[in-house]
């Protein structure tokens, strides 16, 4: 038992520089066998860099990695895999058209025999509660099932250290609970886990220790079970986060957005058809649309925004104007505004400057475009106003959108719409992958906008967010939208059940 004196993996004094930027500044961290160790930090705190170093994708400029007490060099992911380090990334790398078993087979070393693969998948599944049908094509699976593939991939290599990056970001509460049980089983079997998450509740529930990074440095190592969520959050951002003001009992105004029995075919094989969706939103309220990813959220957003047109003009009514046949610009002109899910590539063009990106959704304004001619001063002034009001932090004057961090770009694209004072605002995933500070700014701005009389719809996978700011909640599942439930009188569990298709809807069986 000589080895047990040493932690499974020990990082000491890790420094990683990218040019002038010090992404990891003298980071020390250890993970013991059988422990679930949380790695916390805002976007840009250096978590991803550290994980990439552990996975052999990046090499540190300084510092030492010890594995069971022995110094090691990790030059490639293969080196890391040989030691027994496994990764489960936040974004799935799966071939949608192939089956579960095929997707697992491609990830294994080329000399692995594949004959008993289905059996091995079943064995792993049974031991850790990861049920998977090997012959199902991946596109037909839910996000939770897809993630199980990623975990099974990692487990088949019998890792001693498993790193999970934001594993619950696309899961329902029930799916997340199943995952936690799996992870606890794994830890009991002696595997060390490094668990990266923004969700502090989960970290408190699951993890034995937490290391908190801020601006590339370790600011604290603690036992998360002994800390409050608020304290963990303030350690992450270095200051107390402005508490989002809870939605007061709103004075609901006139009906501003109506969806009447809206149906829309799927755009392609992997799309979801909208199935008789109805919704009424009044001025002054925030509607949260919850749901597991891939249940028609992007289709619903496209139908509301006018990026896809409805089958009848009265299927979408904005401020009493039927506009099912109006395109997105026409809907903007009657006072609606939209923020799509993807920041880069949809809400903003990465290589265009911020001032040019400001034009995207504001081109019907005279100060920006006059008689078909762009007014660069007007665009720059608008960008500057958004940047100032929403505290968008950037490296230099008018940089390309792609150079901003996720949170800052999100503040920009949300701010661009809110400053228009829209009558109806529809936001898809308002704070997805955004650090807590930026998320609080954005949520507060949405609440304030509703308080000024606008109708706000947020489509979100983050139940914390929905419960924090929505007055009423509807759930989208398989392209169907549930009734709106009052946020005060509804439990997370009830919403979670609706998200998986249970709870009184079609699924009787």
């Amino acid at each position: 038992m000589a080895l047990a004196e040493h932690p499974l993996v020990q990082l000491s004094g890790i420094v990683k520089r990218f040019g002038a930027l010090v992404a990891n500044d003298n980071i020390s961290l250890d993970v013991r066998a059988g422990e679930i160790h949380a790695l916390l930090g805002e976007n840009g705190a250096g978590k991803s860099t550290l994980v990439k170093i552990l996975d052999g994708l990046l090499q540190p400029n300084e510092g030492e990695i010890r594995w069971n007490g022995t110094p090691v060099t990790l030059n490639s992911p293969e080196d890391a895999a040989r030691l027994g380090i496994g990764m489960v990334f936040q974004h799935f790398s799966l071939f949608e058209q192939m089956t579960v078993a095929e997707n697992i087979a491609v990830s294994l070393p080329s000399d692995t025999p594949l004959t008993d693969l289905n059996q091995r998948i079943a064995d792993i599944g049974q031991r850790y509660g990861l049920a998977l049908e090997p012959s199902r094509p991946v596109w037909s699976l839910s996000a939770g099932e897809k993630q199980r593939i990623e975990i099974v991939r990692a487990l088949l290599k019998a890792p001693k250290l498993l790193i999970l990056d934001e594993p619950t970001s696309v899961l329902t509460p029930q799916e997340a609970e199943t995952l936690f049980e799996t992870l606890e089983t794994l830890a009991k079997s002696g595997c060390g886990l490094l668990y990266i998450s923004h969700r502090l509740d989960e970290v408190k529930r699951l993890c034995d220790r937490a290391t908190i990074l801020r601006a590339g440095k370790v600011v604290a190592t603690c036992d998360p079970k002994l800390e409050t969520v608020a304290r963990l959050a303030s350690m992450m951002v270095g200051s107390d986060i402005a508490e989002v003001r809870p939605a007061a009992a709103h004075q609901n105004g006139d009906v501003r957005l109506v969806l009447n029995d809206l149906s829309l075919d799927a755009e392609d094989d992997h799309g979801v058809a909208l199935d008789h969706v109805s919704l009424t939103v009044r001025g002054g309220e925030i509607i949260g649309i919850a749901g597991v990813a891939g249940n028609g959220q992007s289709e619903l957003f496209a139908a509301m925004s006018g990026e896809r047109l409805a089958q009848q003009t009265n299927h979408v009514v904005i401020d009493r104007t039927p506009c099912g046949f109006s395109d997105i610009e026409a809907r903007r002109r009657i006072g609606a505004a939209f923020v799509p899910e993807e920041r880069l590539g949809h809400a903003a063009a990465p290589r265009l400057a911020l001032s040019e990106n400001a034009i995207l959704s504001r081109r019907s304004e005279d100060a920006i475009v006059t008689n078909g001619l762009i007014n660069p001063q007007g665009a720059r002034a608008l960008a500057a106003k958004i940047i100032k009001n929403f505290d968008v932090r950037k490296g230099r004057v008018d940089p390309p959108a792609g150079t901003l961090s996720g949170g800052n770009l999100q503040k920009f694209v949300v701010g661009r719409e809110i400053l228009r004072e829209p009558g109806v605002l529809i936001v898809n995933q308002p704070t997805w992958g955004v650090d807590p500070g930026a998320a609080a700014t954005i949520r507060q701005a949405l609440i304030d906008l509703a308080a000024r009389g606008s109708a706000v719809v947020i489509i979100s996978q983050d139940l914390d967010e929905i419960f924090a700011i929505a007055d009423r909640i509807a759930v989208i599942h398989s392209g169907q939208l549930s009734e709106c439930l009052s946020a005060r009188d509804t439990s997370r569990e009830a919403i979670g059940l609706l998200m998986t298709g249970g709870g009184g809807h079609a699924h009787a069986a």
């Binding site: 925004s305 990026e307 949809h346 063009a349 265009l352 034009i359 081109r363 475009v369 762009i374």
Partner: protein
């Protein structure tokens, strides 16, 4: 050993401007190797190719004459390439433009009709190229047919059409059976700018087109739509730009400008229709557009470099007995170098040793 291609992050404007210049230098070095492999002096070739054409008034005029169609076509191609539409068939639109534009000068041959024929023929040329470019555009937006294939194949249709016309219905009855149309009247021809020289008014048209394009792409909301559509198609949709309408407009503009180039070449230089009216201008202009970083002002630089190689190639054939194909080869090398320089400015290559394959 493993090669990784890693993004460099933010790239300075200076690097972006310098990259085509670096590409030209590398291409010249590679060209020099080929010339020496052919047993000739690369230094002499360098002079014949790049210095001699700049040494005399008539060669400089010739440079502008060769550059004119390249500038016109490449200015149009920019609209396509910027919006991620791949019009490879400018050569065909050029040919059809020349045919359409020649209708009036041929009809009003020897009729003292006056200068309106010239003006009208330039517009006809644009309409011809535009209509021809709309074929791949409509196939693209209605049936999703790859515009790369259709626009390219239509080049051959256009060339065979021209061939038929000058051998059949439009053949000059007094032309000793040569496959060519009647010679155009002097009033149907673009005026010369230099007495006794070959420089014609086409270069002025080309420069006006460049300035206009720079304005349209840089300052108008339409040009903005073109740029956004190429950078991020979903962002263009979000901004309310209609992707199909943009594709059709880009094709229409580039077709019209290629057609204009065709009729400018005929009325400025050749003076009649004949089976061969292009020096591969429609294809070479693709290189010009990329050499100019898909910017209208950059096109002037690109057209200058390419016209230099065309002219230099001709004199190298005479002076050094170097094959004319070498010019085409060199243009190909140049395009490769430009595209490679483009990638290397945006990404860097990292060679890593160790690790298993």
């Amino acid at each position: 050993m493993r090669l990784d291609i890693v993004p460099r992050g933010e790239v300075s404007t200076l690097a972006r401007i310098l990259s085509p210049i670096g590409a030209v230098i590398v291409a010249i070095l590679i060209g020099g190797l080929i010339v020496s492999a052919l047993g000739k002096s690369p230094v002499q070739a360098l002079f014949v190719y790049f210095i001699d054409p700049l040494s005399e008034s008539w060669t400089i005029q010739e440079l502008a004459v060769k550059g004119t169609p390249l500038i016109l076509i490449a200015s149009g191609l920019i609209y396509c390439f910027r919006s991620n539409v791949w019009n490879i068939g400018a050569e065909g639109q050029y040919t059809i433009g020349a045919i359409f534009g020649s209708i009036l000068p041929i009809m009003f041959h020897d009729s003292n009709a006056g200068y309106w024929v010239l003006i009208a023929s330039l517009f006809m040329g644009m309409i011809g190229g535009l209509l021809y470019a709309l074929i791949p555009a409509f196939l693209r937006v209605t049936y999703g047919v790859s515009e790369i294939l259709t626009s390219l194949m239509l080049v051959y249709v256009a060339q065979l059409g021209l061939d038929y016309l000058v051998r059949g219905p439009w053949r000059d009855p007094k032309g000793f059976n040569f496959p060519q149309s009647v010679p155009f009247d002097a009033t149907s021809m673009l005026p010369n700018l230099v007495e006794e020289g070959r420089l014609h008014a086409g270069i002025i048209i080309a420069i006006i087109v460049v300035l206009l394009s720079a304005f349209v792409l840089g300052r108008t909301i339409f040009g903005f739509g073109i740029r956004v559509a190429g950078e991020a198609p979903k962002a263009a949709r979000f901004a309310g730009f209609n992707a199909k309408a943009l594709t059709i407009s880009a094709f229409a503009i580039s077709g019209a400008l290629a057609g204009l180039a065709g009729i400018v070449e005929v009325t400025g230089q050749i003076g009649q229709l004949q089976p061969s009216i292009s020096n591969n201008y429609g294809f070479t202009a693709i290189t010009v557009a990329f050499l100019g970083r898909l910017h209208p002002l950059g096109v002037l630089f690109g057209a200058f470099v390419i016209a230099l190689t065309v002219l230099g190639g001709e004199s190298a054939q005479i002076a050094m007995k170097l094959p004319l194909d070498l010019t085409t080869t060199f243009q190909g090398i140049l395009l490769m170098c430009v595209l490679a320089a483009d990638s290397l400015v945006t990404y860097r290559v990292r060679i890593r040793f160790g690790g298993r394959s």
